[in-house]
């Protein structure tokens, strides 16, 4: 029994050191985390950041240039672009996070099946190959054209477009792990199948999936904005960065600020997520880090 408390800190120590080490070696990851934290705070605290109702229409004050009262100007309906941009962060973050979590969960499920069941593998991977040859944005567009515009449907559409790639990744990880000596040892010692899956396979998929998850999050944010921008995404009554830019489209030569500010916020958010992803990748997979 005495060994238990002794080994526990030993196991925890390298991982804490690893994180600190990674942060020191990748200052860009800290920048990414700080930016991301700022944007998450902005989204949560939106009502207290000097914003007014993002949907409040005020025809008298339409198309005002950025000024002290209207930091980012007003759009063609007289809505405050600053308030709309701040609230718009909510949609991007929710969509990014939800798509990342859902597509990883679904992809993990299919990936484990295809990695272990030969018959399911041949069928499912054929389907996934087909789905992967449809460019993701077009796939999402097709789904959105047939459903009502809502955030849930946007999340579902982007998730469906992302699942094949996650399935591929999990499958390749599982196929490599199956041949590893520690898994063979577990099989030989009669460990039951579900325990092998939970104790030996799943923990080893965490690192690559975490990295993949951040990239999915970044690309989902861009896809949501693109869908909203072309009128196939978040419904117009919810301000999202893509929506705001779509509304500024017809007037961009007069009212550049309606497009510029949400565009900058979107780029910074995606950049932050990508920086975190690159940092995680370097920290979790040193072999890959050296090459990329």
């Amino acid at each position: 029994m005495a060994t238990v408390p002794a080994t526990a800190p030993l196991e925890a120590a390298p991982s804490r050191g690893m994180v600190r080490d990674a942060l020191r070696r990748h200052p860009t990851m800290i920048i990414g985390l700080l930016l991301l934290a700022a944007i998450v705070l902005m989204a949560i605290l939106a009502p207290y950041l000097g914003t007014i109702d993002p949907q409040a229409v005020s025809p008298v004050r339409r198309l005002r240039q950025p000024s002290e009262t209207y930091w980012f100007g007003t759009d063609m309906l007289g809505r405050d672009v600053y308030s709309r941009t701040v609230y718009g962060a909510r949609v991007s973050l929710v969509v990014g996070l939800a798509v990342a979590v859902l597509s990883i969960a679904v992809g993990l499920f299919f990936g484990l099946i295809t990695g272990y069941v030969r018959l399911a593998d041949t069928i499912l991977m054929r389907v996934m190959d087909g789905l992967m040859s449809i460019p993701p944005i077009l796939l999402a567009i097709a789904l959105m054209a047939l459903t009502k515009a809502s955030i849930e449907n946007v999340i579902a559409a982007i998730t469906i477009a992302e699942v094949p790639r996650v399935t591929r990744l999990v499958r390749s990880v599982v196929l490599t792990l199956r041949e590893q000596p520690f898994v063979e040892a577990a099989v030989a010692s009669g460990t039951r199948f579900h325990l092998i899956l939970i104790r030996h396979i799943l923990p080893n998929t965490v690192a690559p999936l975490l990295v993949q998850g951040t990239y999915i999050c970044a690309s989902a944010m861009i896809t949501e904005a693109i869908l909203s921008f072309i009128g196939a995404g978040t419904p117009p009554n919810i301000p999202s960065w893509g929506n705001i830019m779509a509304e500024g489209r017809s007037l961009f030569q007069v009212a550049y600020y309606v497009i510029l500010f949400p565009g900058i916020f979107l780029s910074i958010t995606v950049l932050a997520v990508n920086l975190v992803g690159d940092g995680l990748r370097d920290a979790l997979d040193p072999r890959l880090a050296r090459r990329m």
């Binding site: 460019p135 077009l138 959105m144 047939l146 072309i230 510029l260």
Partner: protein
Amino acid sequence: MFAYIVRRLLATIPVMGVVAIFVFSLLYLTPGDPAIIIAGDYATADDIAKIREKLGLDRPFLVRFGEWLWSILRGDLGISIFTNLPVSRLIGQRIEPTVALTVTTLIVAVSLSVPLGVLAAWKAGRWLDRAVMGFSVLGFSVPIFVLAYLLIFGFSIGLEILPVQGYVSIREGFWPFLERLILPSVALGITYMALIARITRASMLEVLSQDYIRTAQAKGLATDKVLIGHALKNAAVPIITVIGIGIALLISGVVVTETVFAIPGIGRLTVDAILRRDYPVIQGVILLFSAAYVLINLAVDISYTFLDPRIRY
């Protein structure tokens, strides 16, 4: 070799089959009645019934799928709900600007990003490498349409050296044609360039650490000969692969780029179809783009044998 090409061509059939089944069954799989959603909020019961008949939703799934597949195989992509014109004709009218835009982007992106990646690998860890890698992180982060507007604000409205929007066919003069494609190509190509530059650098780094590179340098071969003749040639397979896979980025990006720059191509056709919920058009566009993607990647696979004599089929 010939047998291999035939075998690979046959292997694309199940892939395209999955695409066809998927885009077709979406009409049946999506929750709710697609006829009601396509008809819109102000539709009468009569309108909805008409759309249901046009889409064949009133007949059994398998019968309808059989008919649809048969007509696709004969090159008939169905009839647009909104314009009542054949989808294949609508696509035919719009294909030229899209091909012009994607081919220009492809040429510009590859001819810039591969040398950038090679230079970054050669100067690994130096400022040039950092600059290229920094550019690639930015390229992944700035969405196409944001960059597109930044370019328009800068070059068209600010400096007034390039036209804001529009498309002119190459038949009406080469410069007017090219002039209007510069900004769209840069915007469309940025993520693609970032991807290619990254992979080129990674693949080059791998090759540059090999013994035969040191041998080449030791025998006094000029740096450019080592980099291009020895290193790039051996690093080519992953680079060509990613050029092929990245075509998906271009195809997806076309939809947005054409919207921002008012180019009357297939992307614009798709966006108009979404606004009118003209599903047969969307279906046709997806089939066309997926087929293009599959065939390009088939060509990429076959090109491996020319690039790397060790790969034999």
